[in-house]
């Protein structure tokens, strides 16, 4: 196992703004000019990255949980929150477009656009809902436990959801068809479908990572993580999976016959638990950030190289790459958003 402590090779970054709350989710506009930030207190901020100006949307009092910028409409933002509603907003007018109350008792945990932007999926309680043109098209309820995360197939033909007892996949094109169930006696907290469609990876409450092989329904379990695993990110081609679950970023190589029996590459930051990590949408740059407030960028293709670091104002709480992979935005617990630019 290769493990290195990074030299303090500091890089330039702009601390953009102070937001009226704690950033819990960030997403970029398709043109990379703006970011939408969901705040734990409920509001949703739309920040113009170049001009550093901020517009505040009323969002989801008493708390927003999720934000997703439409991949096809440069002005459309979808959000979810503790009010049990899925809402869409016009980013240029700063006004609500649509609202759909999904549950009276459960909050909306996650919203995610289909990669083509034609459908929006949302989870609340035990239910998965698929919306089209702002209207509920399908509702899948049969999970037996509260849903923790959702991920679209990279080409949009299916949705995977995680819950206690494993994961389930549904096809919105065949809403009456049976779901595929991938059972495991444990609780999955996060999931990510690999960009090549071969794997669904989960991070789990009992400090493990699972790779579900979609072709045959079998799974590989990776254990030895110090904490529950809530941080997962695939690289752009689906070869490497970066995982958190402790102070180290652990990167598995799924090339060839897969990660079984291989040694992962380990990137250590500041000794505090990782809270967010994300591979850039192109290339092999991995961004990680910690509870201790250190953002680091790693070139994972060069396992001997050092990372570049930026000190944040507080514990990192949310992260997203710009669509072209040139910048990464990180939210921190003081309400700050920092944007770091990748040198090429």
């Amino acid at each position: 196992m290769r493990s290195r402590r990074t030299e303090p090779l500091r890089m330039a970054a702009d601390r953009l703004t102070d937001l009226p709350g704690l950033p819990v989710a960030i997403d970029w506009s398709p043109d990379g000019s703006r970011i939408a930030v969901a705040l734990g207190e409920g509001a949703v901020a739309v920040v113009d990255v170049e001009a550093a100006t901020t517009a505040i949307l009323s969002g989801h009092p008493p708390g927003a949980t999720s934000v997703a910028w439409s991949p096809r409409d440069p002005y459309l933002i979808a959000t979810g929150g503790l009010d049990g509603a899925v809402r869409t907003w016009s980013a240029d007018r700063g006004a609500p477009v649509n609202a759909l109350l999904m549950s009276d008792t459960d909050w909306v945990q996650r919203v995610a656009w289909r990669p083509d932007g034609l459908m929006l999926a949302a989870i609340a309680g035990t239910a998965l809902m698929v919306l089209e043109d702002g209207e509920a098209r399908h509702r899948f309820d049969d999970h037996g436990s509260t849903l923790t995360d959702l991920s679209w197939h990279p080409r949009g033909q299916a949705i995977a959801v995680s819950h206690y007892g494993g994961i389930t996949t549904w096809s919105p094109r065949h809403p009456d068809g049976a779901p595929r169930r991938f059972a495991w006696k444990g609780s999955s907290l996060r999931l990510a479908w690999s960009p090549d469609g071969r794997y669904v990876a989960t991070g789990d409450q009992d400090s493990t990572v699972h790779f579900w092989i979609m072709k045959n329904g079998k799974d590989l379990q990776m254990w030895g993580y110090p904490r529950k695993v809530q941080e997962l990110s695939w690289d752009s081609v689906g070869r490497h999976l970066a995982t958190g679950g402790g102070p180290d970023a652990i990167v598995w190589d799924c090339g060839g016959t897969g990660p079984a029996g291989t040694e992962p590459t380990v990137f250590e930051v500041d000794g505090t638990p990782l809270t967010v990590l994300a591979f850039a949408p192109v290339g092999r740059i991995l961004a990680t950030a910690t509870d201790g407030g250190t953002l680091a960028l790693w070139d994972t293709a060069d396992a001997t190289g050092d990372g570049q670091i930026v000190d944040l104002s507080g514990a990192a709480t949310a992260m997203a790459w710009s669509p072209d992979g040139s910048r990464v935005a990180v939210g921190d617990a003081t309400g700050g958003v920092t944007v770091a630019r990748v040198d090429r």
């Binding site: 207190e41 206690y164 904490r227 709480t317």
Partner: protein, 443 residues
């Protein structure tokens, strides 16, 4: 070092015990604070500025299959989301259903690192309906568990209950959970600090283990010593709450309180042996427990002995209007002891307190405690202790929930007498077994 974690209070109690009224009172009186409430049952609660979240009880077993490691998945999810805001809550209240097992709730705060770093379980408050709890203790094991897990117990609605029955309830709850603080309330009217600032799971607080309850419970409620005076001692009884009463006489050298105390250990095993049935007007001999039938007309029994005797009775004298005489003159005991009632209802859930002077051997202790929790962890709800380990200048304090334990070295002993104290609250605990195991750990 200041602990800036957000305190969490768990409120348990059977449906109708007055939990929701209490919750509303807390929210009203603490209106200046930011409080989040997680509730499992629908109730009319909430005050401006408070966040009320509904939860469905979701028990997660961990993949290792250990039932002591079950946690509440719903709470993990909700609590971690509630912590994701810049202005933290001042307090979080979790109201469980009347049928909830408090074990997984408490274990959640041990098993999940993220929560343990940000939140501090301050205490478990259990509300019991003083009028109806008797039938619930018999019918619903959840009630006994909620009492066993509690740091604070509110005996609520006492205005609907005879004061003598409240005393009886206090005795019952005290034997089940000897560590909890008991309050008598009518509408949950108790000082809020007594509910929200308990420190029930803090190791500092474990130092305050009160040795008063460490006296063992006895199968009898009363004992008296009588001088010899020619005639046999006769006990006359009126009809009482039960149709029978168990009595034991033992010969003593003198009728002093010291002799009474010295006999307690001897009397206990004899008293729990199979008693001999005796009809009214019969005679009992020292050394054998008699079960006297007491009908509507009352009963009387004579003790056939030549010297001074010690008499042990299953119930206190006032319950049967017990009178003592020799011949026609009344007899007065020269020494008397009263004991907390050991009720039949609660035999399954009890507290066992252990204490030993001097030092313990750390290795033997670990072996014993480890084995005990492995074997009996399911039945041991909570444990606490302050221990004197050989060679260690400081007290070792620990507390645990089922198999999960948390311990650290605390205040130095200094000039104070070194001793070890331990409390277990659990189901079907064998006091003798625990005493022997603990004693074998002596250094």
């Amino acid at each position: 070092m200041t602990d800036d974690r957000v305190p969490v209070t768990v409120l348990t109690g059977f449906l109708g015990s007055g939990k929701t009224t209490l919750l509303n009172r807390i929210l009203t009186e603490e209106h200046g604070k930011r409080i989040a409430v997680i509730e499992n049952e629908f109730g009319e609660i909430g005050v401006d500025n408070d966040l009320v979240v509904n939860a469905d009880e979701e028990i997660f077993e961990m993949n290792n299959g250990c039932i002591c490691c079950t946690v509440r998945g719903d709470l993990i999810r909700i609590l971690s989301t509630l912590m994701r805001r810049r202005e933290k809550f001042d307090h979080i209240l979790i109201e469980t259903t009347g049928l909830a097992d408090p074990g997984p709730v408490a274990q959640t705060f041990f098993m999940d690192d993220e929560l343990a770093e940000r939140l501090r379980l301050d205490g478990i408050v259990t509300v019991v309906d003083a009028k109806h709890v008797w039938q619930h203790v018999d019918d619903a094991p959840e009630v006994a568990e909620q009492v066993a897990f509690a740091d604070v117990i509110l005996m609520n609605k006492i205005d609907l209950v005879d004061p003598a029955d409240v005393d009886r309830l206090e005795g019952l709850l005290g034997t089940m959970n000897a560590v909890a603080t008991l309050h008598r309330t009518t509408h949950g009217d108790v000082d809020i600090d007594a509910l929200l600032a308990i420190g029930g799971f803090s190791l500092e607080h474990a130092l305050e283990v009160n040795p008063a309850f460490l006296q063992p419970t006895y199968p009898f409620e009363w004992a008296g010593a009588f001088d010899s005076d020619g005639d046999d001692l006769v006990i006359d009884l009126d009809a009482g709450p039960d149709g029978t009463i168990d009595l034991l006489a033992l010969s003593v050298s003198d009728a002093s309180s010291a002799s009474l105390d010295a006999l307690l250990g001897v009397a206990t095993p004899i008293f729990t042996d199979d008693p001999v049935a005796v009809a009214s007007g019969g005679v009992m001999v020292p050394g054998h427990t008699a079960r006297l039938e007491v009908g509507e007309q009352g009963a009387s029994i004579a003790v056939h002995a030549s010297g001074p005797i010690a008499l042990f009775t299953q119930h206190g004298p006032d319950e049967f209007s017990m009178r003592f005489r020799r011949g026609i003159s009344s007899a007065v005991p020269t020494a008397v002891r009263e004991f907390a009632p050991d009720h039949e209802h609660d035999e399954s859930v009890t507290s066992v307190g252990l204490t030993l002077p001097g030092d313990l051997d750390e290795e033997r202790l670990q072996q014993w405690l480890g084995g005990l929790l492995q074997e009996k962890g399911v039945d041991i709800f909570r444990s606490k202790g302050v221990l004197s380990l050989k060679g260690q200048p400081e007290r070792y304090v620990f507390q645990g929930v089922h198999m999960l334990m948390d311990g650290t070295f605390g205040k130095p002993w200094g000039d104070e007498e070194r001793r070890s104290t331990m409390v277990f609250i659990g189901r079907d605990l064998d006091r003798g077994d625990l005493e022997r195991g603990f004693a074998a750990c002596r250094a």
